[in-house]
Each structure stands twice: as C-alpha cells, then as structure tokens.
Point group: C2
Chain length 696, copies 2
C-alpha cells in the first residue's frame, strides 16, 4: 500500500511498475481488464501490479511442497511440479510454447487450458464465459495444481507457424545483391608455412605471424589466447606445416582463436538473427558468396513471460535474467538447428553471427541486467557491444564464432531499428524519410543523410493481439483482411493459411475498424451505432460487440466478436503512434507535407492495407505513393552486417548519430495523443480523403 | 634399435634425445657415467636414452597392480603407490623436494635414500659404495616398491634453503631507485559517476566510458568482457555511482576486467618472479611506491624431474606438460603465500605479475608444448607473449591479475637474459660488454647500444653439482671457498651456513681446481700428479681422487672426495663457456682486448672468485677491474618490468633486436671447445698471468 502520486491523501494498492509510483483508482481511468498506468500513452509500462502494491519480486518463495505430475495433451508431454504451482508455471517448466500476454497477471485471458482430469484450484475470473467454464476451460495463470493433472492445450491457444516477413526467395536474392565484398569478423585463413631450419629458427608463433602478415593481417595488433598457444606446436606439425588459423577482427585488434592442422576446406557459414519480442528469425548464410541457405522462424519462448518487454523485464527481476536468457537461447538454438539440418551444414562451420534485437531483447539474450530500462530515467546497461564469443553467450554454433550485436541507441530504440536503417539506407540518402516499425512499441525514426531523430511510443500489444478479446498474432487461423458489405454488414474475411478463423490479427483489426467506421457500424469516437437488433450485434457482459464470425464459421466453434473496448484499445494504440509522428515532426520544425516517404517495416506492416490504416488515423493522409513497405528490415540489416565490416561500422555510426527524443516526459506528446483518440483524428482537416469517405 | 648415424653398418640402441639420431658405442666417447652425445659440447642435450633406442614416451603404460604405502622419514609423510613404482616416482607423488639430477636415469647418483623397513627391489649400481650399501642406501630411481615401505631421506640429500642472490635489503633499495614513474598493466581506477537523468540517459557502459575518458583512458581502444557487462548495472548503483574499474592495458587495446561498487583503497601489489631451472625467487612489490615488501625463494619442484631443461622437457613428453606446469606453479604459489603472509597483504590485492625465466621454464609454466626446443632445429613454440590473466595460467593471486611474461629471443636464450639486460642496461650504453649467466647452460650476450649478439653453450650441470660425485648446489653445507696449503695440501674451506660440509658447490669446485693446479696436485690436463702415498690421495674405483674433507670433518660422516672425472667434467663445462666467448667475439671480428667490461650475473657468480675462475680458464685473463658481478639480474629486470611499461616495451625490443648465434651447428665452436679442454687453455699466451703463476 502507498499514497497516490496525484492524491497524497488516498491510500492505494496500485503501483506502476515503471514509475514505481502508487496511484488511486480514480487515476486509473481505463475500463480495460488490464489496468493501465494513467500515463499509459506516454509510458512504455502498461501493466500494474495488483498484489497489494508490492513489487512482484518482494513476494517470498513458497515453502517446500508435494510434487505432482502435469500431463499436457495433445503432445502427451509431462512435467513434475510442486503443489500450488500454477499451470502457467508448469507450462513454462515443460517448455511448451503458450502465449501468456500479461505474464500471469490474470488480465489478458490468453492462457486458456482445458482441464481433462485431476485436481486444480482456480481463482474466479470474468475472462471465461459460461460455455467455456462448462467445457472446463481455465486460465493457466489463475489455476494451481493440487494433484496429478492432465490438461489439454486447446486449438486456439496453440502457437502455430508464424508468417514471417522477409524469408521468401525473392527477398534473399535481393539481399544478396546489396552487399559488395564479404568481410567476416572471423576468418579461417589457410597457411602453408615454411618448416623451420637452423638458419630460420624463429618460434612457432613468430613463424605463424610472419605468414599471417604475408596474408595481409595486421600482426602488430594481433593477440593470441593461452589455449591456442598451448596447442600451437602440435597443430603446426600435424599436417606438414599446413595450418588453418581462425582470426577474429575486433575493435582495434585481432586475435588468433584457434590453429588447426591442415588446410580446411574454406566453407564457412554465418548466422543472422532477428530477436523480436514476439518472433525470432534466423538466416543461415554462406559466407563465401552471401547465399541465404535457410531461413527459419519461430515464437520467442519468452512469450510465456508476457507479451511485451516490460513484462519480460519484470519476469527477469523475479526469476533471474538467466531464465529469460535461456528461453530466448533455446528458441534461437532450435531455429539454428532447423536451419543447419535443412541446409546440411555442420554446426562447427558457423563462425560468424550477427544479432539484431531491441534493447531489452539484447540485454536478456546476453544475460545483462535489464531492470533499469523500465525505471525512470530508463537506462540500458550496455548499448554498444564488443565482438563476443558464441560459447560465452550460449549460442550453439562453433564455440569460437564471433558475434556482433547490433548497437542500441536508447532503452526503447534498439539494434533492430539500427539494422532497419542499414537495410533501408535512409541515412545515406537525401529524401526526408519517416521510418516506422510498429509492434508493441512503435519505433519511429525521422531524418535523412544529414540528421536522424528517433523515438518510441508505447503502441501497446493491441496490434499483436494483446488486450483484444479475439486478438492474436498473424498466425494460421488469424483474420488478416476484412471487408464489410454495406447493406448486410456481413464481413468477407481472408484468413492466414486459408483455414477457418480462430482470431483476428493486427491488420484484420485495422481493416475491421476502418470498415466499421466507413459502413457506420461505429462512430468516429469508436462507439457503436449499429442497431441492437442486428444479427451481428451482441452484448458481451456490459459491452457492445460485433460478431465477426459466427461459431459455425470458425475452427474454435465459438463466435469471434469485436467489442467496444477492443476498439478503444486499438484507438489508443494508433493514437500513440500518430502522436509520435507529430511530436518528431514538430521537434524538427516540419510537417507531413515535407516528408518525402514513409517506410513501414516489421511483420505487422506486411499485411497492412495502407488505405485502411490511414482511415483509422494510424498513418497520415498523404499521397499513397510515398508509403513503402520494406519487410523485416531487422533481419535484412543483420544479414548485411554479417557479411560486411563496412555495415558493422556503419551500424555503430548510425547508432551514435541518432538523437533520441524521450516521450515519457514530454507534455506535447500527451496533447497529441489526446487529439488522436478519434477516428481518424480530432483534426479531420489533416485527413481530407478520409473525411470525404466518411461524409459520403 | 637403429643404425649409427656415423656408421650406417652398425646397429645400436643408443639414441640422442635431441638429434633423434642413433649412435654406436664407439661414437660415444665420453667416459662419464652419464652417456653424452658425441657433440655434447655443442649440443644442449646431454642425456641419452638407454632403453633399446626407444623414445621414452613410446614405452607402454604398466598394467594395474597392487598398491603399497611408502612412508618418508623424518617428516612421516606417506603416499600410496602401485607395485613396482620406483621410490623416485613415490617421492614425486608425495611432493617431497628431492634432487634427481638425471631424472631417474640412474646415472647421477643423487637420489639416495635409506630403506628403513619393507620390501624393495634395487637394480645394481656402481654409484653406491660398500659402506653405503651396508647402511641400506639405495638410489630412489633404481629401486621399486614391493610392499609397504619406510624410507629415510638422508641429511645430505634433503634440499635446504638456497642462498639466493639479490634479495638483500641493499639490493631492493637500489632497485627501487632504478624505476622512475610507475605504470602497471592493470590499474584500479576509482570513478565518481554522475547519476543518470532523463536528460542524460546514456547507457551504463557509455557513462563509465565517458568518465574513464576523463581519467585519461583511451576508450576508443577499450574492450569489455561479457562478465563485466553482466554485473555492470548492479556495480554502478551499488555504492551511489562510485565505482572502481580494473583496466588492463594490452598490446594495442585496453580491457575493462571488473567493475566493483565503491572506491576501493588504492592499495595494489605486484609480484615479480624469477623462474630458474633450479631455484625460484619471488618479490612482493607495493605498486604505489615500488617498495619490495618481501622476497622469498625456493627450489623449483621440477628438480624431481631432473637438473636441466632437457630432462624437464623429456619428463613433460613422458608425463604431460601439465605435470611440470603444476610442479613449478606449486613452487611459485607457495613462495607467493610466504611473501603475502610475511607482508600481511591480501592475495586479491595482487593485480600485476611479471615472470622471467628461460625459454623452457616459460613454456612449462604456461603449459605450452616444449618438445621442439630440444630437437633440431630447436624451435620454441612461443617466444613473445600477450598479457595473460593470472587465473588462466594458475597463479594464485587476484584471478584477473595481468601477467607479463618476459619474451625469449631463442630456445636457449630466454626471458631471464632479457630481464638481465633490462637491469644491467648494457644495451643502452656505449661500452662493449660481455654479459654472462652461468648455470647449466651458459648464456652469453655480447654488444652495446648499437648491436647485440647472444648465444648459449651447454656448460652442463657440473657447476650446479650435477655429474660431480660430491657436487651440490650452493645450499647449507656446501663448500663454497677453498684454499690449499702448498706444503701439507690441507684445504681450508668455507661452508655455506657455517656448518660442517656435506658437499661442494660450483664456486668451491672452481677454487678447488684452481688451488690443485697452482699447488701442482694436478697438471694442466687435469690429471693427478699427487703422490699416491699422500694421506689425501685415494683411489675410488678405477679413479684417482683427492680427499677434500675427511669423514670426521663432515656432517655426512663420509669422506668428501674430488675425482679425476669430476675435474674432467668441470674442464668440459668451463671449456664450453670459454669457447662461447671466443666464437661470439670472432663473429663480431673482435677479441677480448676490445671488451670494456664483463658482467657476471646469476646465483653462481655470487660466490665466484674471479682470480680462480681465470686460473682454470673459465674467465679470460684480462684486467680484473673489468669484471663486475651484478647478482640476480633476472629478478631485478622482472621487478623493473613490473613497475614500468617503458621496461616492458624495452624487453620486447631487446628480445627482437638480439642476433642469436647457434653453436650446435657451428664447427668453429667445436674447435674452440677442444682448445679450451686444458687448464687454463691450450693457448697459454692468452692467460699470461695464470701462466706466470703456474710457472712460479
């Protein structure tokens, strides 16, 4: 318990996880089951702790208890857990990919399981309807194990193959063309040494260095480790003075990592990794010619600890950074396995790795303390990294492989954005460009070759399915496109994977709101204006809702609905992004008319209908030809840095040259945000085409 | 078995360990019980394998056997060993400091033990006389364990405190004055950081670097390890943004090794180590002011594997480098313990270490393969070392302490000689200087500030007690000075530690030969001319011998004698050194008259009587004022490099600038050696003063 930061006379148990401040209920104005910080739009921290104002890590460990077996169907995977363990913890212990958006706070309703047999105790929750309760649905995070239990993971909860931007053949061919001249960090240099004689009796290491120098290596800045020195004599004599030397180029020096006998075949491979909060993409690259031999992708296992970076940090504070580090490493290593198996490449041949991720992902992957990222004044621990060794950070490639981690300009603008710039090249060109990557956070960069400004606004998880009743990621079964018949209001939907729908992904929601607005099912303030007798109108609890698909049209056999609070969440998300655009432009003394192009990147943008995004006011109402979708620019930039030292240097320069604008302490942002909580915007003049369409 | 390299029609089982060549018995012309290579004087490899021409490491492991307990008196130390283990192996397993000059070949007769009870089997040996056999003396290396055994280590065999040159107070005060300005490799830099604000929200690491830059550190060349990054956030916030950063300066970059909260007291200490083949010296140094707080010394535990570097290498090939590495580390770590206990210093405060040793000692200490040092063309594996970490090489100081290893110019001219030059400074000055360090190998450097030539001649172990019946090191009980009454031939001896004698050390032998020559007990060819009826004449086996001390004058209650073959060994040793002088001078087109000074260093030189060394022809017959003894220059140079980056750089430059002359393939050396096998020399004209004294 503590005193409300705004009303010091009021005791309250609500505490903002980011600001570390208490706030009374009146100050928490959002009706959403997720309780938001009053300043949610300007604050990257969405969730609040409801457990009596205590920070989660202050809750003491449980005493020792009985252990029970939990079996997960349909995979028949089991795990032994202590009495009173939650099913969500059991899921994590069993390493089952289950989405738990809010990291076990019981507010998102995503972690639904069906109890088939056994004793459990469930806390009451408004997030399950009567039909679900009848079918023995529970929320995994609100249910504790009281005996041996068998649970089923229902169809709609299972994580399926993500649709990942930027892994198609065309993209890889395009990327290959972007890099001229390959310069890896770690090279394997084959050498034919002259055997020693009495006249030429320099030491083994000097002999090696002399030959390396001939190969163009700067031996004056060369180091060698004790292990390599210990094996040197044997290696040099093992194959008649033919050796292969692994040399890594660091910031200002080189290091001999390994000397092995014989001249190995020159095959060397690299790995580029895009570590997203939600999904992870791995490219396996032939370092001889830049060919992308395999591209694999999957869900970040950390999803079991919540949807967004704040929940991940909270989880790291509670359970230790290494837990989160292991989760993401197991995902990455699994994807590396897939890639090397499909391309028939030997793990030991992977000598170079580039990792691109946002600041929190980078910290968690490397096991670096992230807790200050979410606390005023929002400090990352490390933003620029030396070349690391794969074995030191737990990547299952050649243990000595060199790892370059994309530098992060700020706590909420990370290496993924730097990689995105590398790929889009806007910092090398004249045109004034707005670069946006919308996910849970909306990262925005404005600038050109002369200057760069960057900012992050908390779009919230709505576009990725969080905080929306039937929201989901762009996986199989997600409604990704919607048009609504103006007469019947019957939607025509496109579903990822061409199957029956089981939810709605971000682009589907944007389509839906845009269509509902234009077809006057909702008003510009997001409130329903549809006749309550219409067959697609339904009341869900206290809320108005629209039935997007009837139960018999779905794979989950329940109505897929879209509620007023879902709409409100989307409006807040798009409002935060749009406010971000406006503040950055204002800071530069500019307006949208001066922007030459808008580059949209990230998985979310892939399925985005620009017109519809403009209609809801997510994107500005400017000439449509100025918009350009550039796919997963994070993995593309990682690929470029993997192959070329030029781009690795450029990444560091770009990161250092960005001016970061912090919105969390920015009043202008608050004003812009409030103005944007309307469809498309309170200032309709800024959206002339949308205005015309609505009026029509 | 193999064919003699000189007589291809002859089968032989003798193989030179260095040349990897077989040689027939006729080619082995030396009468010494140690079987020498034909080219022994020019070849640093003395011992040969007598086991059927097989390399020792080819002998298969023994099958599993019964285990017996061996108790060593007077310390009552015991060890469990397998049946048929030799007592020498048991001694090594029990970690008892016992000298075994020839590393178990049964040829030096040094490893005498007394069997008090239990079953042993001993091979017959001519190296024990009847009285010894009666007293149950055995050679540890020739005796195997056949049951539980109790043995006594006799007085004359126990290693006692060495007299070490260069640890006196005067020397340390002198050294302190030689270094101006202290620049350690690893510094602990206390920093007061500004706490972050919203306006100053750079990452923790950038904040640290910014402050380091203000402290004059070149952060552009700064690296940081993953461990330090992981702990950074906590360390910086632990003591209100006061931290102490450990930074090591490497070849061309710096590395942050550790960041700890708070501003630690600036006390930092260093260790300088002289790793000799025989003895090891450790200085504990206050890095603030250069004071030497403690100086400790002891026998290199590796002595159990033989007296000289070749035996050590053979042992490393047989038992693995790590065994030898552990032996020397246990000695060094023990001496470090003694030093920190006596000065009341915390181990963790030792951040800087410099190691100075010959090439083989350096290889063995670091666990680097040494086997090619002793094989044509005599190649060290590593001659110049990066800054190492103490924990990586097993030194028990602060694990992150920075270790500088003196570079070795050649296989038989090592870092100890480079350190010696640092201290004597001859490479900075005009006068033409001959620098000599006589031990098992005689290392010679000739030159001045314009040029440097270096060489090594195998003096053999005679000066350190090896190959001489009653030879011993300059330990307590060693006869170190001798004068002989011209009438009675009664010697007046000075004994180390002022006790009864138990052997003769190098300087004692030189005195003895010089006196015997001048008093005409022997002739210039080393043969006896004393009347066989004289009470000090004795026949030992087939040999003539001189009784230096009668049994009742000794602590071992046996006659200490000096035989013709002892004299022959000394003549060969001094001949090799003198031949080395001559060849170096000839290579430079010079002669002794052009030498401005002769610097003698090393423990051996400390007790050397220059006149007597000239008399036997070890040193040239030039003006006596040109000779200067400079003590243990290896530890002194290590001390200088510990304190000053200038000297560390200078060490590398000196090492690189030396021209190494290899005697092993040098015919001129063979000629000079043969000419020097006379007292003082076949060319008496070169020794005018000696000639006059002999004739007188």
């Amino acid at each position: 318990m503590g005193k409300c930061a705004n009303h010091p006379d009021r005791e309250t148990s609500y505490m903002c996880m980011k600001h570390d401040k208490y706030m009374c209920e009146e100050c928490l104005e959002c009706p959403d089951p997720e309780i938001h910080c009053k300043f949610r739009s300007s604050c990257p921290v969405w969730f609040m702790d409801k457990r009596g104002g205590k920070n989660i890590d202050d809750i003491p460990d449980k005493p020792e208890k009985n252990r029970f077996k939990v079996v997960f169907m349909p995979d028949n995977k089991d795990v032994l857990v202590e009495e009173n363990t939650t099913l969500l913890e059991a899921v994590q212990a069993a390493d089952i990919p289950l989405n738990a958006s809010c990291n076990g706070k019981g507010v998102c309703g995503k972690c639904k399981l069906v109890v088939e047999s056994g004793m459990v105790e469930s806390a009451p929750t408004p997030l399950l309807n009567d039909e679900e309760k009848r079918k023995k649905y529970v929320l995994a995070c609100q249910t504790t194990v009281q005996g041996d239990v068998t649970v089923k993971i229902p169809e709609e909860v299972l994580e399926k193959k993500l649709r990942i931007a930027g892994t198609g053949k065309q993209v890889t061919e395009e990327l290959k063309g972007m890099v001229k001249g390959i310069s890896p960090m770690l090279s394997r240099i084959p050498l034919e040494l002259n055997p020693p004689t009495l006249e030429d009796s320099i030491s083994d290491l000097d002999r090696l260095n002399r030959c390396l120098k001939k190969s163009g290596v700067d031996i004056d800045r060369m180091n060698i480790g004790i292990k390599a020195m210990r094996g040197l004599a044997g290696a040099m004599r093992g194959e008649d003075w033919n050796v292969t030397v692994s040399v890594v180029k660091k910031k200002c020096s080189s290091e001999v990592l390994e000397v092995v006998p014989g001249n190995l075949p020159a095959n060397s491979f690299g790995i580029a990794v895009d570590v997203g909060t939600t999904s992870i993409v791995v490219y396996l690259v032939d370092m001889e010619n830049g060919s992308i031999l395999a591209a694999t992708s999957g869900h970040n296992r950390q999803a079991a600890c919540g949807d967004d970076v704040i929940n991940r940090i909270v989880c790291a504070e509670k359970d230790g950074v290494s837990k989160l580090s292991k989760m993401v490493l197991s995902t990455i290593n699994g994807l590396i396995n897939e890639a090397i198996n499909s391309a028939d490449v030997d793990r030991e041949q992977i000598d170079n790795v580039v990792i691109s991720g946002n600041t929190t992902m980078t910290h968690l992957l490397l096991g670096i303390e992230p807790r200050h990222i979410r606390r005023d004044p929002y400090i990352p621990s490390v933003s620029s990294f030396p070349i690391l060794r794969a074995e030191d950070i737990g990547l299952k490639v050649n243990p000595i492989a060199a790892v370059f981690v994309m530098p992060s300009p700020a706590s909420y603008v990370g290496g993924d954005i730097v990689a995105g710039l590398l790929y889009t090249g806007l910092h090398r060109e004249e045109p004034l460009t707005m670069f946006i990557d919308v996910g849970t956070n909306g990262e925005i960069v404005l600038g050109n070759r002369d200057w760069l400004m960057a900012a992050s606004c908390s779009a919230g998880p709505a576009f990725e399915g969080g905080g929306v009743r039937w929201g989901m990621r762009a996986e199989e079964g997600a409604i990704e496109k919607v048009s609504i018949d103006p007469e019947t209001f019957n939607p025509v939907v496109t579903v990822v994977g061409d199957t029956l729908p089981r939810g709605i992904c971000g682009s589907g929601m944007i389509d839906l709101i845009s269509e509902m607005l234009l077809k006057k099912i909702i008003q510009p303030n997001g409130k329903f204006s549809i006749d309550s007798t219409h067959p697609r109108y339904i009341k869900s609890g206290d809320e108005h809702a629209f039935i997007v698909a009837f139960a018999n049209e779905t794979s989950v056999e329940r109505d897929i609905i879209f509620t007023e609070s879902d709409i409100d969440n989307i409006i807040r998300s798009k409002g935060a992004v749009y406010a971000g655009f406006m503040v950055l432009l204002n800071q530069a003394g500019m307006d949208f008319s001066m922007v030459d192009r808008v580059i949209i990147t990230g998985g979310f943008g892939q399925f985005l209908d620009i017109d519809k995004a403009v209609t809801i006011g997510l994107l500005p109402d400017i000439e449509r030809s100025k918009f350009k979708y550039m796919g997963n620019s994070s993995i593309a930039g990682a690929y470029m840095a993997l192959l070329s030292e030029k781009y690795r240097k450029e990444a560091i320069e770009v990161s250092n040259s960005m001016t970061y604008i912090d919105f969390s302490s920015n009043n202008e942002f608050m004003d812009e945000f409030t103005s944007a909580l309307f469809l498309p915007h309170t200032n309709m003049e800024a959206f002339p085409n949308v205005k015309a369409a609505i009026v029509r």
